[in-house]
């Protein structure tokens, strides 16, 4: 389970505090697939970084009783000067996974062929997100944080990524941030709207979309 209780986050911008999140409450269980809808600048990526533990809240607490992926689709996480294979080895070691198995999984899943031996900075953004997704699936987290860029990425691959994520329903949770209704409908079973620094959960998708459109 993942629980957020009264999470506040502000940043200092030009000497003034800008409050991005003002008391976010949420609970996520294994098997949940939650879409988080929000306009640009609503704080979606901030929320993802807090959940992932990349940043820390100013107030409130985040309880993690499951392993949580790094936020997929925000760049980062991969090192440009290292080859794809070395990046895979690095991440496998960090999470204490068997290196050879992880490498095999990523080679098969990301379909990068010879590119695996080349520096990641030479990859197209599609290739990068394929590798990042393959890597996170290989690590086998309990909860995946996905940005819409990854889900939308390349159509053929979005299909495979979706398949893999769906196959893990029941033992893994998914949190997808997006401003696209279609994507949320494809991946998620419930949705919440992030507005004015607060997260509003809705019983079903249609209700959530209605609330989102009314913004």
């Amino acid at each position: 389970m993942l629980r957020l209780e009264g999470v506040w986050k502000s940043y200092r911008v030009r000497g003034r505090d800008k409050e991005v999140l003002r008391g976010v409450d949420a609970a996520v269980w294994k098997g949940d697939a939650i879409g988080i809808l929000g306009r640009n600048g609503a704080g979606k990526s901030t929320l993802m970084r807090l959940i992932a533990g990349v940043e820390h809240p100013n107030a409130g607490r985040i309880q993690r009783e499951m392993s949580i992926s790094w936020p997929l689709g925000y760049g980062g996480a991969l090192h440009g000067n290292l080859s794809g294979a070395d990046n895979v080895r690095f991440v496998a070691r960090i999470y204490g996974r068997p290196v050879d198995w992880t490498l095999g999984f990523c080679e098969e899943f990301a379909e990068l062929g010879e590119h695996m031996r080349m520096p990641v900075r030479t990859y197209s953004s599609g290739m990068q997100s394929r590798l990042a997704l393959a890597l996170s699936l290989a690590v086998d987290f309990d909860c995946y944080l996905v940005d819409e860029m990854v889900a939308a990425g390349d159509a053929r691959f979005a299909g495979r990524g979706r398949e893999e994520l769906m196959a893990r329903r029941g033992r893994a949770a998914l949190i997808l941030v997006s401003h696209s209704e279609e994507l949320v409908r494809n991946f998620c079973t419930s949705a919440a709207v992030l507005q004015d620094g607060k997260l509003h959960f809705h019983e079903d998708l249609d209700q959530a979309f209605a609330a989102y459109r009314a913004l």
Partner: protein
């Protein structure tokens, strides 16, 4: 077969294992990123300090500078330059270490301190290997063998620990808005060379100056390392507990500063 899930059961042994995994992965990554897999690759890690220390020592040897007390000059200058190389490499790289590695902090398991620790361990190991090769060479060629090889190694580790504390402070300052810290650190490490104790010994000075000189923590490192090499042939002045206190204070302050810097790092 697919490996089992990563369970977040909190326990000390698990925390230690995670810490160990992360440090190991960072050290390997740092080596790949810095030296690549081609050409001499990792060998540069040891060759770089050896070339520099070797040149400095050879210059002094050729210039024929005799040393008070009749100490063999070549090992003296090798033991002057290698600890300084360690000091410089740990401190100067710290100012940009965190921002250059911002992508790493997407993995919540990687903490700021891990990145800096991996660097310190790597630099220290490189210098230890380089020095071992060097002193073995010196021993074979001139029959000058270290009296206490472990003491020399310990001296370098103490230097690394002290500089790690300084590096934590420098890295934190770099994040806390002082982007110019880089410009100050580089000249500061060069200017510190004459004061660090690399090229003088405490007993060369009159008693009242000795007291002042012994306030400088790195002087104790050099005296200890030289004592370990030459044995009791000339007077040595150092106090390991004084050095230990410096290590403790710099590292504690450094960790506090790093904590304060954490929210300001832009990832």
């Amino acid at each position: 077969m697919r490996p089992g899930p990563i369970l977040p059961e909190p326990s000390l042994s698990r925390a230690l294992r995670v810490q160990f995994n992360v440090l190991g992965a960072l050290i390997m990554r740092e080596m790949h990123a810095r030296f690549g897999r081609e050409n001499l690759g990792y060998v540069w890690l040891f060759v770089e300090p050896m070339i520099l220390a070797g040149c400095v020592a050879t210059l002094h040897h050729i210039a024929g500078h005799g040393l008070p007390g009749g100490l063999a000059p070549f090992p003296f200058y090798v033991l002057s330059y290698t600890p300084y190389y360690l000091l410089r490499s740990i401190v100067t790289r710290a100012s940009t270490a965190l921002e250059a590695n911002a992508a790493l902090f997407f993995h919540a398991r990687v903490r700021l301190h891990d990145v800096l620790m991996a660097r310190t361990v790597l630099e220290c190991a490189a210098v230890l290997v380089a020095l071992t090769i060097f002193l073995t060479g010196v021993g074979i060629l001139t029959d000058n063998w270290p009296r206490e090889p472990l003491g020399i190694a310990m001296g370098l580790v103490l230097m690394a620990l002290l500089m790690h504390g300084v590096a934590l402070l420098v890295a934190s300052l770099g994040v806390l808005g002082a982007h110019n810290v880089d410009r100050i650190v580089h000249p500061a490490t060069y200017l510190s060379l004459p004061a660090s104790g690399a090229f003088f010994m405490v007993w060369w000075f009159p008693a009242e100056m000795q007291e002042m000189i012994l306030w400088i923590p790195t002087v104790h490192v050099y005296e200890f390392v030289r004592h370990s090499f030459y044995g009791d042939v000339v007077p040595f002045h150092y106090d390991i507990s004084y050095l230990g206190a410096w290590i403790l204070v710099t590292n504690t302050l450094g960790l506090v500063a790093l904590r304060a810097a954490r929210p300001h790092l832009e990832t």
